[in-house]
């Protein structure tokens, strides 16, 4: 009798779970609509509080940071003078051709309201009603690649970050002819895989997206090389990448609504 009752409970739970899954979109859409406003307030409060703690705890490193920044500043001043001529020429060409981020793509501004605690997905306050659809690329205003739209609800969407374990994209190292594949590792970590053994990949190399796979537009910033794993036995070398996108800094992002996938 006891076993029979236990089986009935199992069957009832299975039916409830099946029913909930059938109406998953409607349930999640309703919950996001109800909670969206509160989530946005909590998101902004969390960002401001973490900024405050970060400034308090990093006070001890200020002197070292100042010295490092002074060195970087000197190097950048040298680069700036070399680039100024190029910039002038570039501006003239851009004016002539009329190109730019907002001119190349249709951008839809969205705000981040939350993040999945176990996966690298964020929630934004734009959905199907705003013209968002699955697999649309998501970027910041500074041409940093964030990820792509994973799930779409009526007023909200889930963005799969580049660091999610299911995410991968073709990328290359800026100013070097080195291409590979970026694979998400979870926990905001990226791995740059399938790098040719004979190429020199160095720390602080800048990684940008390429459009070989057709998933993301080319030339968007992905991150910087943190460390390189090179082994003579392996066919390829790998590099650990620090993503340029930081959820603690950015609140507003853009969905590219007219990139053909």
């Amino acid at each position: 009798m006891k076993r029979f009752r236990f089986l009935i409970y199992i069957v009832l739970i299975a039916i409830v779970v099946f029913g909930l899954n059938h109406f998953q979109n409607q349930i999640k859409s309703f919950v996001y609509n109800t909670s969206g406003f509160t989530q946005k307030i909590l998101w902004d409060a969390g960002k401001n509080t973490s900024d405050l703690f970060a400034s308090v705890f990093s006070a001890g490193n200020l002197k070292k940071e100042k010295e490092e920044l002074s060195c970087d500043n000197q190097e950048l001043l040298v680069k700036i003078s070399a680039l100024e001529d190029l910039k002038k020429e570039n501006d003239e060409l851009r004016n002539a051709l009329g190109v730019g981020l907002e001119k190349d793509f249709n951008l839809l501004l969205a705000e981040i309201t939350g993040k999945d605690i176990s996966q690298d997905f964020i929630t934004i306050n734009k959905g199907s009603i705003d013209g968002v659809s699955k697999n649309m690329p998501v970027v910041t205003g500074h041409k940093v690649l964030v990820g792509k739209i994973g799930e779409v609800y009526k007023n909200y969407s889930k963005v799969m970050l580049l660091s999610d374990k299911k995410s991968s994209l073709d990328a290359s190292i800026r100013e070097k002819d080195i291409s590979g594949v970026i694979k998400g590792q979870g926990g905001f970590k990226l791995l740059f895989d399938l790098l040719p053994q004979d190429k020199d990949v160095l720390k602080d190399d800048t990684v940008v997206s390429s459009n070989f796979g057709g998933i993301f537009p080319a030339g968007f910033l992905v991150g910087k090389v943190v460390s390189v794993r090179k082994n003579d036995i392996e066919s390829f070398q790998q590099a650990e990448i620090s993503p340029s996108f930081d959820i603690n800094v950015v609140s507003d992002i853009f969905v590219i609504t007219n990139y053909n996938i």
């Binding site: 909930l20 989530q39 969390g46 999945d116 605690i117 926990g187």
Partner: protein, 104 residues
């Protein structure tokens, strides 16, 4: 009173779901964020009398909330939390002699 207490705990779970997905995210340690709902489910089932059923309902509700705010299908965390609650109750009922349970 018990009904009011149950509603209060359910609302608290909902608040935890909002806090952990929007506020605590900014305080992650190497990408990990404390799962307040899971901690609460474990505490409730450990503290409650093994014969009581309310801990199981809270486990199912907590799992449901975690599923809704994640990208996973509804039912995954719900099942996991329910199984965890069952295991805790079974162990407490059959293998733990010290009585520290209370009516939650």
């Amino acid at each position: 009173m018990s009904f009011v207490k149950n509603i209060a705990i359910a609302v608290t779970f909902y608040c935890f779901a909002l806090i952990q997905s929007s506020f605590l995210i900014h305080f992650n340690i190497y990408g990990f964020v404390p799962n307040l709902i899971l901690i609460s489910v474990l505490v409730i089932n450990l503290v409650e009398f093994p014969e009581k059923r309310s801990g199981l309902f809270f486990a199912a509700f907590g799992g449901f909330l975690v599923d809704v705010f994640s990208n996973r299908p509804i039912g995954l965390n719900l099942s996991v939390y329910l199984v965890l609650a069952f295991i805790i109750k079974y162990l407490l009922k059959n293998y733990v002699r010290v009585s520290f349970g209370k009516d939650v």
